[in-house]
Symmetry: C2
Subunit: 224 residues, 2 copies
Amino acid sequence: MHNLLSSLRIDINSSLYLKDPESSSLGINIVKSSIDLIDLYGIEEFNFKKLAKAIGSTESSIYRYFENKHRLLLYISSLYWGIVEFQTVVQTNNMPDGMEKLMKAVETLFSTPQTKCTSFEIEGQKLRHILNSEFVKAYHHKLVDEENEAGYFSIYKRLASRLSEMIVGVNPRYMYSNSLASLIMEGSLNQYFLSEHFHNLTDCHSKDNLYEFYKDLLTKTLTS
Amino acid sequence: MHNLLSSLRIDINSSLYLKDPESSSLGINIVKSSIDLIDLYGIEEFNFKKLAKAIGSTESSIYRYFENKHRLLLYISSLYWGIVEFQTVVQTNNMPDGMEKLMKAVETLFSTPQTKCTSFEIEGQKLRHILNSEFVKAYHHKLVDEENEAGYFSIYKRLASRLSEMIVGVNPRYMYSNSLASLIMEGSLNQYFLSEHFHNLTDCHSKDNLYEFYKDLLTKTLTS
DNA sequence: TTTAAAATGATAGTATTACTATTAACTTTG
DNA sequence: CAAAGTTAATAGTAATACTATCATTTTAAA
């Protein structure tokens, strides 16, 4: 068996970009640098002018890769969820015990993404930080239904579906596996945001704490 | 005891507006109509030009009430959470049983807000719908720390704190009451959004369903 | 190695947005 | 009735989010 990690490529919906950013060094720079800048400015204050300046290129060149910054954010989001999905699958593969498997998946969800499996040299922490702050804006959007139809959220939904299946694996009689899966995924971003900006709204100020909170919640919900 | 409802006024942080919209019919129209338009267009496509046109006034007049549309959204959000907090307090008042009290609060959280207790004739459903879609953008914002410092989220945080206390009332040994309270409040908006736009990501497609999901979650988490 | 094709850069321009400023008209209150 | 306060009308500005065009550079195929 050859090295799965090195030959793997996260398959991002091609209608998210005009030209595949992985196909050129400019494209790679666009994605890499956009992550720095979105993290720095937030998506509202981020624009292609700033990005062009940062990579020593021009706006028009960037527009050849991405239609607009919203699509770029969706691309970055897919990249994140793709990494998380990949890690989840690898880490939980062949685990016989359902509960152990689910817990491993949850732990992965709350961990820093391993960006090595991409063409981009990205800091995992930065990528996660963007998702914590900006992902909700990627889907709380007027065009969400069209974009969903176009498959822009398919990786996210697939991961939710995997989690849901794991939940059913633990307790086949549990009636809210989809809602619970979404709740955990949403929480994996939001609880970090709360910890950073609304300290008193959460009791979890570390990855371990958070993991314990959800572990407790899931164990009790699914086994009692 | 005089009528609490009729004399009550939801106390919204006065630095959210330049001139109190409740102080004039123009102000009331601004808030009323903005709810219609934000619901229709979403906050990104909504602007003061459209709002001015809708109420037969001018942009400059609106700018005398609100510094910008973001502040207006924060105002509307405070109004929503103020109503929910009020209802929660009224409904759970003097309930001796902790669990019953918490469940009542959760039920209120998932209900349509009673807008009668405001100066504005607003459709509760519309107000809730805006919150479902737009509230996350009100606080996932680059200036969130300053705005939080300025007290723009104090009603939201106070309600979270009340819920947290109720949770502790049910189980004083439970260690994550704040996180759990936030999780429920967040869920009270997000799960509706999922039901509308990502049908497969949730199992709850009615208020009752949703309420049952959280009731189950809370009962098991706090009593086992 | 030439040549065509593709990618990128440079520059310019447009429509819209999010305001600010000024002055005039109207309304309310003392 | 006069003064003060409120609103309307109009104009203007800086920034944003693009689009278009054409020149130049890079790459890849013959």
